[in-house]
Every structure is written in C-alpha cells, then in structure tokens.
C-alpha cells in the first residue's frame, strides 16, 4: 500500500503549480511527521497502562515503539530539511514547528537512554513510563505550533473535520501513503515488540513451552 501511494505520488500525481516537482517529498514527509506524533501518543497510553494497572506489556510496547518513533521523527526532520532548500532557501529554521519536532526527537532519545541506563529493568520500565507520560505535553505544542505562532512552516492542509486545501489528484496518493506507512510501522512494531517480549520473558515457562 505504501508502494502504491509512493508510486502514484512520485510518478503519476501532477506537478505543483508553484513548487514544481519538489513538493513530492510530502509523500514521505507528511506521513512521517504524523506518525512521529501518533507513536508518542500511543506510548503515552501504554505508559499509563503500565503505571496505573501495572501491565508489563505497556512498558514492553513503549520500549519497542521508541526506536521506531525516533527513526520516523528523524526521517520527518530530514525530509523537511531537504524540502526546505527549494521552498524556503534554507536547510533549517528555528521555527516553532520544526523546533518542537526536534524536541520530540530528543524526547525519544531521552526515553531510550533512560531505559538503557538502569540494569534493573523493572525500575527502568517505571521511570521510562513516568517520563513518557510527562513528555506528552509536547504533542499538543507540536500540533498547535503553526496556529499559536507565526511560523515559516505552513498550517495544516488537511483537517480531521474533513476540510482539505490539497487537490484530490495529490490528496489521494498522500492519504494512501499515510495509511501505507501506518501499516508498515504497525508491522515493524509487532516484530520489534515480539522480539523484545521474548528477550524480557526468556526465563519464563510460557516461552519455553510455546517457542
């Protein structure tokens, strides 16, 4: 599905009247940044599960999702930076949206580093969950940054309420790319969490009986 979205977007969607072919990076950039935020939100829900109901799986899912979140945030930042050259004439701008996304990337690294620095994994799980819950404050800031401040970054072109300022010939491949990347990341998440659960539970009887 991701390949379909990208092929449609990169080869068959029409050129943009102002940006020419350079706009085509949206088929990578937009899905990446959407999932950079969604993955963090998912991690925050898992962290609450772990802290409130002591569900171990919550912590395992955070630990598995964090590297994927970091990777996709990095791709979002990098693709945005590459897009910045033809559109803004600069690789980087200390604009509210870009800076808050960079902060999100640092948050992902912080979560991974925090977990990695404790040898007692149960302790690491709890501390990591606390940090994830507190860090969720950054998500609405990223989302609303383009509305709250006058930024170089454009406001959202698609809204959940249904409105879109993108022509359907570009919108459909974009939506397919978003859904496709979503499925790809879910698959990656399942694979990553499966191997992490095996690592953490390797001494448990259910592993030796079933695997």
């Amino acid at each position: 599905m991701l390949m379909l979205g990208w092929t449609w977007g990169l080869l068959f969607a029409p050129q943009d009247a102002v940006q020419g072919n350079s706009y085509r990076i949206i088929f990578l950039h937009v899905p990446s940044v959407i999932f950079a935020e969604l993955i963090y939100f998912f991690m925050a829900v898992c962290a609450l599960m772990h802290l409130v109901w002591r569900v171990k799986l919550g912590a395992y899912l955070i630990k598995s999702a964090a590297p994927i979140g970091a990777m996709i945030t990095f791709i979002g930042l990098l693709s945005g930076s590459i897009w910045g050259i033809p559109t803004w004439g600069t690789w980087w701008q200390w604009d509210a949206r870009i800076t808050s996304t960079l902060i999100l990337f640092i948050m992902y690294l912080g979560i991974l580093t925090l977990h990695g620095s404790f040898s007692n994994l149960e302790k690491a799980d709890r501390l990591m969950s606390i940090l994830v819950v507190i860090g969720v404050v950054n998500i609405p800031i990223i989302k609303k940054s383009v509305d709250w401040w006058s930024t170089l970054h454009q406001p959202a072109s698609i809204s959940v309420s249904g409105g879109s300022s993108i022509d359907p010939s570009m919108l459909y491949p974009l939506l397919i790319s978003v859904i496709g990347l979503g499925f790809t990341l879910i698959s990656l998440g399942i694979l990553s969490s499966r191997s992490y659960i095996f690592i953490r539970e390797k001494n448990k009887r259910w592993i030796s009986e079933n695997v």
């Binding site: 509210a96 800076t99 808050s100 902060i103 999100l104 640092i106 948050m107 690294l109 912080g110 580093t113 925090l114 620095s117 404790f118 302790k123 709890r126 501390l127 606390i130 940090l131 507190i134 860090g135 404050v137 950054n138 800031i141």
Partner: protein, 216 residues
C-alpha cells in the same frame, strides 16, 4: 514540613558549590557574552534578554544537578521514606529551598543585567517577577530530570527534562515581547503563576514516584 525546610536550608547553605556555583555562572555568562562579540549597545539591547533566558536555563539546570544524588548515596532518602512513607513533603521543601536560596538570587542578577541593557527602570519589578516565576517552573522540571537520572549523570537529566522546559521558554519569550512592547504582561504573568502553582503541587508527586522507584 518546617523541619524539612530547616534541614534542607541548612544542608544547602553548607554546600557552597551548589548555591554559589550557579550564581557565579550566571554572572560570568552575562558579563562574558557582550565582551565576546563586537556589536553596538543598540544591537545588544535588542537581544540581551535571550542571553538572560539561556543563562537562566543553564544555571537552573546546574543548580538542580545534584539535588537528590547526595541524599540517595548517603541513605538520607531511605531514612526519610521510613519516617514519612512518602517523599512529597521532602521534594516540596527541597524545591522551595532551592528556589529561595538559588532561584530568586539568580532572578535578581538577571533583572539587574537586563536593567543595564536597555530595559526601562520601571520594568525592573516585572523582569524580576518573570525570572523568579520561570525559575520556579524550571527548578520543578529539572528536579524531575534529576529524580529520574539520580546518580546516572547530568547528560541523562538533560535528555529527560530539557524537552519539558520548551513550554516554559516559549512562555518566557512571549512575556519578554510583552515587556518590550508594553502590553499583555498581566495576562502572561497570571498564566505563569497559575502554571507555577499547578506544577508546584503536581511535580513533587511525580518526582516522589520516581524517587520511590529508585528506593524500591
């Protein structure tokens, strides 16, 4: 509570490097910056506030760096847990003492330097209030970072708590603009007081949970 405040004040006053270090760093940065770049006073006045904000961020981080580490290493935290069964009061009094003994003097230094760099004399009180409130927020956040990393080094503390300081910096930037252009300051300061009160009530709970995890 008063016992804890007294004990924490005594402990901090004995640790010279913990309270004097951040104050000296603040003064050094604020003096060194104008010397290190060759620009006119007019240009310097325009962005000197940014230097104050960055120095504030840096010094509040340095000030809170070892907030719980020593207590954790020497067993005071465990002892306190056995007496109180919770760290809420300890954290609250620690942050209170740090803000009073380090945060407010830092805010005073920052306000003095801003006054010397283009801010009108009538705005001194505004700047001082703004910087003091910012310190309250930053000390709460960095105390959280310190409680998470405890004895694992400053880098981890920065990684965990600096991103959370972003909203404070944004608020500060807006407040600075309102001081420079002379409108909307009351609304921002009210918002900061509100956030400060909420944070001072909630953060010790979260920090307490993090400290308990270390003791467990």
């Amino acid at each position: 509570m008063l016992r804890l405040v007294k004990a924490e004040s005594f402990k901090l006053s004995k640790k010279l490097k913990s309270w004097l270090g951040p104050l000296l760093i603040m003064v050094l940065v604020l003096i060194a910056f104008p010397l290190s770049i060759d620009i006119s006073q007019f240009d310097l006045d325009k962005f000197y506030f940014s230097i104050i904000i960055v120095s504030l961020l840096m010094t509040s981080f340095v000030a809170t760096e070892g907030m719980f580490e020593e207590d954790f290493e020497d067993g005071s935290l465990e002892q306190e847990f056995l007496i109180e069964k919770d760290f809420y009061k300890l954290v609250l009094s620690k942050i209170f003492v740090y803000v009073c003994l380090i945060g407010i003097p830092i805010a005073f230094i920052g306000a003095l330097f801003s006054f010397a760099n283009g801010v009108a004399i009538g705005s001194f009180a505004k700047v001082f209030l703004l910087l003091s409130l910012s310190n309250l927020l930053l000390f709460n956040l960095f105390a959280f970072g310190n409680a998470l990393s405890i004895n694992k080094g400053a880098m981890l503390g920065v990684l965990s708590s600096l991103p959370l300081a972003l909203p404070v910096i944004i608020l500060l930037g807006t407040a600075v603009r309102s001081i420079q252009f002379g409108d909307g300051f009351a609304a921002i300061i009210t918002l900061m007081i509100g956030v400060g009160l909420v944070m001072s009530a909630i953060m010790p709970l979260i920090i307490s949970a993090a400290l308990k995890t270390h003791i467990d």
